[in-house]
Amino acid sequence: MSRLQVVSGKGGTGKTTVSAALALALATEGKRTLLVEVEGRQGIAQLFETEALPYEERKIAVAPGGGEVYALQMFYKMGGAGRALKKLGAIDFATTVAPGLRDVLLTGKACEAVRRKDRSGRFVYDYVVMDAPPTGRVTRFLNVNDEVAGLARIGPIHNQAQAVMRVLKSRETAVHLVTLLEEMPVQETADGITELRAAKLPVGRIIVNMVRPTILDQADLDLAHAVPRTAVAKSLSGAGLGGARRGGLAERLVDPLLRQADEYAERFALEREQRGVLTELGLPLRELPLLAEGMDLAGLYELASELRQQGIS
């Protein structure tokens, strides 16, 4: 399977979480993965509950079966070279005046990590997982070296840019898109796939994140519309929730509970529709559950094992 796994998605879909879970999942059973964060928000450090990451490749987690996850945060507390660049104003330049340069550095670094070998000729990292920019920007981000190669038509710059693009456009790379079962993220996913394909970048999987459990199925929802209110009141009362008569607690609960069922039904229908849209995109789908108690390190391992079970290769 591809050794460079790029994870993108609309803002708010949890792509940092999915990247981290994927890095853990890929590291399982003795593999070594590098997780690269490009947005500079220290989201990975927070997820793994470690201190802010320096600009170096640092081991941040041990995967089940002995694998290791390393993480790299670019443009944050860089070492000597970074300080020199900073003094020159080059960081300011790269991050603001010509931000495309930043993308050049980031993609270049990730591809370098993919190709890096140790003295015995083995790859240093089995997999590199990149927490990439959001869907709206990811194609341009990954393609920045194509632009560079077009600008510098010969010479070392050209060659370097081409080498990076060769990795990014090969089967060594897979770009995954994280989405939610909501209209906007699904639309962005569809648009993103079109753009990636037009740029000849290899599209991997669609990962549906934060999938809510099915509590009421279609039969329940149909019944909720047909059932007499008194029957529900009686049932609530039978479960020990007060009187079913008019004004009793059970009776007063019926309307609010049925209203919540209506909202659920609306969402249920929307989710089904969006799942249909995603299925039509013809890419493998993976689904990760919404963790009821929010995201933490234990949850991350849970998502990683979920990914392994569903198959990540």
Partner: protein, 462 residues
């Protein structure tokens, strides 16, 4: 392990059952702090600019559009500036394509005499306009034709922030609108638009620019002559990151842009001051989720550090329930009560569980096994059982809702504890997406429903 406290038992859960009968509103336990009242802000003629900022995916664009619409329908002449490349505002306003000039939005309620205009930022066009405004004609043509400039201005990440602020300055200078609502770019660092002018300044004062500019000044026009000057010094440092890269393009670009930097900086500084001016109000937009609120807290702190006037926090997608008197724990216990008979029933096969009429005959034996407690025909029992199953589902759904409510409340409390001074407007969650003016109007109503006299809850009583 987690910074999230394990779910402390909900206040209502430990209360005696009798307390459950009262609407204690226990999920709104802590003092909610000051309330952000949107209408006075929109109606105040002194409010000239509203900037919506926040992390991605929290409904920033929708909020900006909803505020713009509401202000217009309350009589103001409004322009909404959106930057988002997904063109969500265009969709939600029913406009197919927004270009770099504001377009009047049709279909708004204009009895109060207001107008709504909207525009989508076209970065390249804005960049080109700046070049044309700041360089003489020959120079401008040279810059516009430079391939590196073309790549850059077409929208490398980050130029958005500049261009958004530039456009804001332009719109303000035209003085055609009495309110400008700005939706900020979905930046990697959401306050990049604040940093942009400063970074530009620090870059202009830095040594790099001198290194890059010196040969340009010697060599005159951007050409090939100076390419090796300063190169060795730079490649050493950059090479450690990547290997010598792209300097030619940078130098060409910088040299070509030479005459423009001064103007750039002046304008960036002016826009920065405009943001600090009393007529500007920042709204931080978030959802009641840990990451979004952590980002929001960061915004609040940064805005304070930059002397930017914060009006408050818009908290989107807040869930409510009309049955808060029933705690999650009790709902779950009741659901289990209802589901118990099903365990017995499953011996006879699952067919009877579902409300499917064609299984009545075949499953009557299993149904009668379980019918000891219920008087009535097998069919009626079957019906009862599926009602019970539905009721159990309703209760589980409610339990999930209540757990969500208390999680949202905890998250919000943590924010309030850190920033008790920040006024908050809550917007009740919508089941679906906002597509049109009707939806935006609804969001606006929900935004404005936050009033000081009733801070506890704005309920969705039908």
């Amino acid at each position: 392990m987690s910074s999230d406290p394990s779910p402390t038992r909900d206040e209502s859960a430990s209360a005696p059952d009798a307390a459950l009968l009262h609407d204690t509103g226990s999920v709104r336990a802590l003092n909610p702090g000051p309330v952000l009242e949107v209408d006075p802000l929109l109606d105040d003629p002194e409010t000239r600019i509203i900037v919506c900022c926040g992390s991605g995916g929290v409904g920033k664009t929708t909020t900006a559009a909803a505020l713009g619409l509401r202000a217009a329908e309350r009589g103001r002449k409004v322009v909404v500036l959106t930057i988002d490349p997904a063109r969500r505002l265009a969709q939600s306003m029913g406009i197919d394509a927004l270009d770099n000039t504001p377009r009047r939005v049709k279909g708004i309620e204009d009895t109060a005499g207001g107008e709504l205009h909207a525009m989508m930022l076209d970065m390249k066009r804005t960049f080109d306009e700046i070049v044309e405004a700041h360089a003489d004609r020959e120079r401008a043509a040279a810059i516009l034709g430079n391939p590196f400039y073309q790549s850059l201005s077409a929208g490398f990440a980050g130029t958005q922030e500049y261009m958004a602020m530039e456009k804001l300055g332009q719109l303000r200078a035209r003085d055609e609108w009495d309110l400008i609502v700005v939706d900020t770019p979905p930046s990697r660092s959401a306050l990049d638009f604040l940093d942009a002018p400063k970074r530009l300044g620090s870059f202009l004062d830095g040594k790099l620019i001198r290194v890059l500019m010196a040969p340009a000044k010697v060599g005159g026009r951007a050409g090939m002559k100076f390419l090796n000057v300063g190169m060795s010094m730079m490649t050493g440092a950059l090479g450690k990151l990547l290997g010598g890269q792209l300097l030619k393009d940078v130098q060409t670009f910088v040299a070509a842009m030479d005459t423009m930097f001064g103007g750039f900086r002046t304008r960036a500084d002016a826009t920065y001051r405009l943001l600090q001016a009393p007529g500007t109000a920042f709204l931080v937009v978030a959802a009641p989720e840990r990451d979004a609120l952590r980002e929001a807290a960061y915004f609040v702190e940064r805005l304070a550090a930059e002397d930017m006037p914060l009006a408050g926090l818009v908290l989107n997608r807040v869930h409510g329930s009309d049955a808060v008197q029933l705690s999650a724990e009790r709902a779950l216990a009741a659901a289990e009560n209802l589901e118990e008979p099903r365990i017995v029933d499953q011996q006879g096969g699952k067919a009877g569980l579902r409300n499917s009429p064609d299984t009545y005959g075949s499953s009557s034996s299993s149904a009668s096994e379980a019918s000891d407690t219920d008087a009535g025909s097998p069919a009626a029992t079957d019906q009862d059982r599926s009602v019970e199953q539905l009721t159990a589902g309703l209760l589980r759904l409610h339990a999930e809702r209540m757990q969500l409510l208390s999680r949202e409340q905890r998250t919000r409390d943590r924010f309030t504890a850190r920033h008790p001074e920040v006024a908050v407007a809550e917007v009740a969650a919508l089941p679906g997406d906002v597509h049109d003016l009707v939806g935006l109007r609804d969001v606006g109503d929900r935004l404005a429903a936050n009033q000081d006299e009733r801070p506890e809850e704005h309920e969705a009583h039908g």
